[in-house]
Structure formats: C-alpha cells, structure tokens
C-alpha cells in the first residue's frame, strides 16, 4: 500500500489540445489579416513623342484640377469633393444634351491634373470619386441592358457583355504630366 501511494500521478493532458488549438487559431488569424487592397491604376507608357492633345474638342474633356491647398476646380469653377462624382457621371452620361459637357459617352474624357503640393490623401479621394463615377455609370448601363451589375458580370461567361459595357463607357482618365507652381513642391 505504501509504495503505491508514492507513485507519480498521471498528468492530465486533456487541456493541452485546447492550448494548442488556441495558438493555432491565433496564427491562422494573424497571418491572413492584411489582405492588401488598393486603387488600381494603369500608368501610361513613356513615349518620346509629345502628346497630341490639340485634337480633342474642349467639350469632351472634363477638366479636374487640384491645387496645392487641396482645392478642387472642375471646368474652371470650384467644386466640393462630394459633388465631384455626380458631376463626372453627368459628364459621362450627357450624350450631347448639355452643350458644355460631352457629346457621346465614348468620346468623353476626364483629365486630372494635380499640383506637386497636393496632399496624397486629397489625390486618392479625387481619384476614388472619379473611379466611382466610372463604376456607377457602368453598373447602371449593365443593369439596364442585362439586369445585372457590371461588377457581378462573370469574366468567363459574360465576356461579351463586359466588352460591350467597356465599349460604351471606356475608361479615359488621363493624367497630365507633372507641373509645379511655386510653394512647397514636396521634393526630397
């Protein structure tokens, strides 16, 4: 009896699995936490030839200017950022109604010009609004034609539909070559 009592009792390892699971879940969660998201941009390739801008009629171009004080100028008049999206949509879907805006959606161009002193935050916001405007008009057109939002169209099955929407509203967002107008030009 005496020797039996002195035996080392078995350690209960039942909760070991719980601890290990906890660690496992922790690693699973932390490693997939930052799925990078961003605004996708396709930069134009560098060309030696000077750009041919004189061909474009003025009414087809929606000029968006952002100055060093983060103020917005659209078609020569000041505008607040929350109205930029609607203004761009009006421009893209004008179809010749308003004589100051575009004649057809396929010819409409949005030109974005910023100062070297513009803050990155403001630039991203403006870019976001312009992208949103394109996405909205494409969604609306796709909804009207196919009863489906543009972003819900399947890249494989609805290839032709996507092509059609893109043809109707081509993304013509041009960015001017950089300029600097005095002040803090943000150079390193």
């Amino acid at each position: 009896m005496g020797s039996r009592r002195r035996d080392i009792p078995e350690i209960n390892a039942g909760s070991m699995a719980d601890i290990a699971f906890l660690l496992l879940v922790f690693f699973l969660v932390t490693t997939t936490m930052d799925i990078p998201t961003g605004l996708q941009v396709a930069l134009p390739p560098i060309s030696e030839e000077p750009p041919e801008d004189s061909k474009q009629k003025k009414r087809e171009v929606l000029e968006v200017l952002v100055n060093a004080a983060d103020q917005l100028l659209v078609e020569g008049s000041p505008l607040t950022i929350d109205r930029l999206q609607q203004k761009t949509i009006d421009h893209l879907t004008n179809e010749g109604k308003d004589p100051t805006l575009s004649t057809t959606s396929t010819a409409a161009i949005v030109s974005l010009k910023n100062d070297r002193g513009t803050s990155y935050d403001m630039y991203v916001q403006v870019y976001n609004e312009l992208t949103a405007a394109y996405n909205r008009v494409r969604d609306d057109y796709s909804m009207q034609q196919y009863g489906k939002l543009y972003k819900d169209l399947d890249p494989q099955r609805d290839k032709d539909k996507i092509k059609e929407v893109k043809k109707k509203y081509p993304r013509k967002l041009s960015e001017a070559e950089p300029v600097s107008i005095g002040g803090d030009n943000g150079k390193i």
Partner: protein
C-alpha cells in the same frame, strides 16, 4: 452478483486523446513555418488613406512594395522618405530596385507584377509623381494606391 460485475466492465472505455496535442502542434508548426508574419520592418509611418472603390490585390508574390512617409524615428527628420525593403532609399533607387526584383521572377510573370504604393496620407504629390515617373521608366505600369476600405451608406 457475478453477472452484475460483468455488465459494469462492458462500459465503453474513454478514448485516448493524449496524441491530439501532438497533431495540433504539428499543424501549428506547419503554419508557423509556412506563413510569413511580417517580412518588412517599417521605418516610415504609413497611415493609409481610405477609399470606397478599392480592389483586392490577388497574389502577394506578384507585388513590389514601395513605402513613403515620414520616418518613425525622428532622428531621421520629419520630411517624407522612401523605404524599399528594410532600408531608406531615394527616388533614384526605385528603377534599380524594380529591375533587381523582376530579375528574381519568372519572365512570364513580369507583365503581371503590380507595385503596391503604401504612402502616408500627409505626403505631398510631388514625391508620388516622381515615383510614378520612375515606374514608367522601368515599364512597371501596374500600380496600386494602397488604401483601406471605406464603407459609405
């Protein structure tokens, strides 16, 4: 009486789970080894802007990272700096960096390489424009302004 005792002995024995922790630990080590937690040490502050139209970047292996922002350590001043990998760099280093990184990749993948630009909100567009020009020079034309998703109603 003997019959009753036999009945008690037929109860299902407890399942031995002592090997369970071993299995789970094996999984744990697999994940610890196979995934990278964070491979770059941040030297600059990058408080990302927010946007509603963000898209997910598909493959992490097809990304180049460029960080721009004011240094975290104030010893290096407060004006925005460029960080490539783990070190400070200048705008002029970007061309070489992209070329070097592309060299490690499969040739077929190079047209799909996207540059993820992580810049602080407060940075001025001057430096961003310079970076964009450098990227155009090395034909790295896919760019992503990294921004966090903003939900609007």
């Amino acid at each position: 009486m003997a019959k009753f005792k036999k009945d008690g002995g037929r109860a299902t024995p407890a399942i031995n789970t002592s090997a369970l922790p071993d299995i789970v630990f094996m999984l744990l080590f697999f994940f610890m080894v196979a995934t990278k937690m964070r491979d770059k040490e941040m030297k600059v502050k990058t408080q990302l802007p927010t946007a509603t139209e963000v898209e997910k970047l598909e493959k992490k292996s097809r990304l180049h990272y460029i960080f721009v922002g004011p240094p975290l350590n104030s010893e290096f001043g407060t004006s925005p700096r460029v960080q490539l990998d783990d070190a400070f760099a200048t705008v002029d280093d970007i061309q070489q960096y992209i070329t070097l990184k592309n060299g490690e990749k499969d040739e077929k993948e190079i047209p799909f390489m996207t540059t993820s630009l992580k810049a602080d909100k407060t940075v001025k567009m001057g430096i961003i424009t310079d970076i964009k020009q450098e990227l155009r020079k090395v034909n790295a034309l896919k760019l992503s302004y990294t921004a966090s998703k903003e939900v609007r109603d």
